[in-house]
Amino acid sequence: MNKARRNPLNLFAAHAILLTWTVVALFPVFVILINSFKTRKAIFREPLALPDADSFSLIGYQTVLRQGDFFGYFQNSMIVTVASLFFILLFGAMAAFALSEYRFRGNTLMGLYLALGIMIPIRIGTVAILEMMVALDLVNTLAALILVYTAQGLPLAVFILSEFMRGVSDDLKNAGRIDGLSEYVIFFRLVLPLVRPAMATVAVFNMIPIWNDLWFPLILAPAEETKTLTLGSQVFIGQFVTDWNAVLSALSMAILPALILYVIFSRQLIRGITSGAVK
């Protein structure tokens, strides 16, 4: 096996495939980034050219920062994403713990019921959700978005986490019980640290769709003070005229925080995998 690994041809092939994939994946991001620093004419004349002395322009960024409360949008997106992830992980892990740890009537049925949401897109219920939010007087609040995203993320979170929690040694939990730990302490102090890789996976899966979502912010929270970044960027896309400089600049800036969150979680993911196992 080691020999096959060291074979230079295999090594080359593996890296060639990885590099090709990296280029394919990063190319659109690269195009957005370079064009956000160019004048409108240069964007259309040579979309793939790097900005040079002639074509360099910060007009897009200036427009974005001048028009609308960009940092406000930014903050809204951040609050919604982080809060939703927090609740998805907290409630998802708790439900998963109950399903995997306790024997009760209807356990399997409950698991299936909770997993059903993976297959049914939450957008089907948009009208009902909107009516509910109106009735609760939550329209145009960030809480409305957080609630919807939490509901949207829970099924997959419960599904993934309960599988992982079944793998946590029963003996460890029982040792905790004999040592006099409450079920809550067992959950938070013994089980959660051991399923951290799974938590990171769930977080990464849920983060990007929430950050990028346009649908629910548009319907539930379109007010100026609750606009998210994705919704805020739509100002520059018109039916007849689109301010491409501004759109590209806004998108470039929107990538950053998502990137930072991703780096945090993926570090957790790697650390979780490598840190000490039970046996």
Binding site: L172, N174, A175, R177, I178, L181
Partner: protein, 363 residues
């Protein structure tokens, strides 16, 4: 320290009963081993004593106090698990101290107890390490240390040696035994390994399918097994069983195995004409000029002794010789049990003991 009293204990899952009304006592300071094949209910019973499984019916008392309704932490027990179950993010010292800290014990007292336990177990140099930096044997010692520091009334062991390699298992076996001699704490030890049971126990409970087959001291079980199950389970290689019919009149019964007569000790159930099953331990079979005719099938030399697997018709008969014979496969031999070393069991499904002797000191 305390005695454990188990009365009519049952465990049911839905409509299925897995433990059928067990009753026995474990004396103060006794080392009691629960042994049986997997799925016999021994671990479930231990977990019921620990409080990790509900008791469906009956009572369990520790030190005279019925513990049915108490959570594990209030039963004054300590448990050592098969997978060690150490907290992976705590050092050895913190692992041992954890339960005491949860009880709000004085810091200096915790420190003293952890030092003492570490000294007993030879872990003093490892107190600051994390479990992942320890070997299997060391981890098992930490798990025992965690039990010792609590100074409980009862130690519970759930197959603690199953994950260790053979050599370490023998060593840890002696260590646990030594620890018990030193601390004299009542101990309940679950294992599926009859050798562990034989070497460690003061008394053994042999379980099968949720019932107790026999309770007794190790040699008592070996010499006078109550039925065919115990006879076959205790001892390695296991006892040979041969169908026979009792013949002979008056005071000298014999067992008739296809024309070969073996003399039996007279006993209450040993009546002429009865179909029985004879049990003969492999080490009690000797080479003879006449006797049970067998054909050698497999020869397994272990160095100190030689196991010879032979065929007698459709039955398999294993004999163990300490002398070095040279047998070839297919060779015909005659085997004869040593005088007075035949167990007689009922031929029915229960296979209850009818008579016979097995021990060197018996009869």
């Amino acid at each position: 320290m305390a005695e454990v009293t188990i009365r009519e204990v049952r465990k049911t899952y839905g409509a299925m009963e897995v433990i059928h009304g067990l009753s026995f006592d474990i004396a103060d300071g006794e080392f009691m081993v629960l042994v049986g094949p997997s799925g016999c209910g021994k671990s479930t019973l231990l977990r019921m004593i620990a409080g990790l499984e509900e008791i469906s019916a009956g009572t369990i008392a520790i030190g005279g106090r019925v513990v049915n309704g108490l959570p594990p932490s209030k039963r004054d027990i300590a448990m050592v698990f098969q997978n060690y179950a150490l907290y992976p993010h705590k050092t050895v010292a913190a692992n041992m101290a954890f339960s005491l800290r949860m009880r709000g014990m004085d810091k200096a007292e915790i420190e003293r107890r952890v030092r003492d336990a570490a000294a007993i177990l030879g872990l003093t140099d490892y107190l600051d390490r994390y479990p992942r930096a320890l070997s299997g044997g060391q981890r098992q010692r930490v798990a025992m240390g965690r039990a010792i520091v609590r100074d409980p009334q009862v130690f519970l062991f759930d197959e603690p040696l199953s994950n260790l390699d053979a050599k370490l298992r023998v060593q840890m076996r002696a260590e646990i035994r030594e620890l018990h001699q030193r601390l004299r704490t009542t101990t309940v030890y679950v294992t599926h390994d009859q050798i562990e049971a034989m070497t460690m126990a003061d008394r053994i409970v042999v379980m099968n399918a949720g019932h107790i087959e026999q309770i007794g001291a190790p040699l008592e079980l070996y010499d006078r097994p109550a039925n065919r199950f115990v006879a076959g389970f205790i001892g390695s290689p296991s006892m040979n069983f041969i169908g026979a019919r009792i013949a002979g009149e008056g005071g000298a019964p014999v067992a008739d195995i296809g024309g070969v007569n073996l003399p039996l000790e007279p006993g209450p159930g040993i009546e002429p004409g009865r179909e029985v099953v004879l049990g003969i331990r492999p080490e009690h079979l000797q080479l003879a000029d006449s006797g049970i005719a067998v054909t050698v099938a497999v020869v397994e030399p272990t160095g100190s002794e030689t196991h010879v697997v032979t065929r007698h018709g459709d039955d398999e008969i294993v004999a163990v010789f300490r002398e070095r014979h040279r047998f070839g496969v297919g060779q015909k031999l005659h085997l004869r049990p040593a005088p007075g070393m035949i167990h007689v069991f009922d031929a029915g499904p229960g296979g209850a003991r009818l008579g016979g002797q097995g021990g060197r000191d018996a009869g």
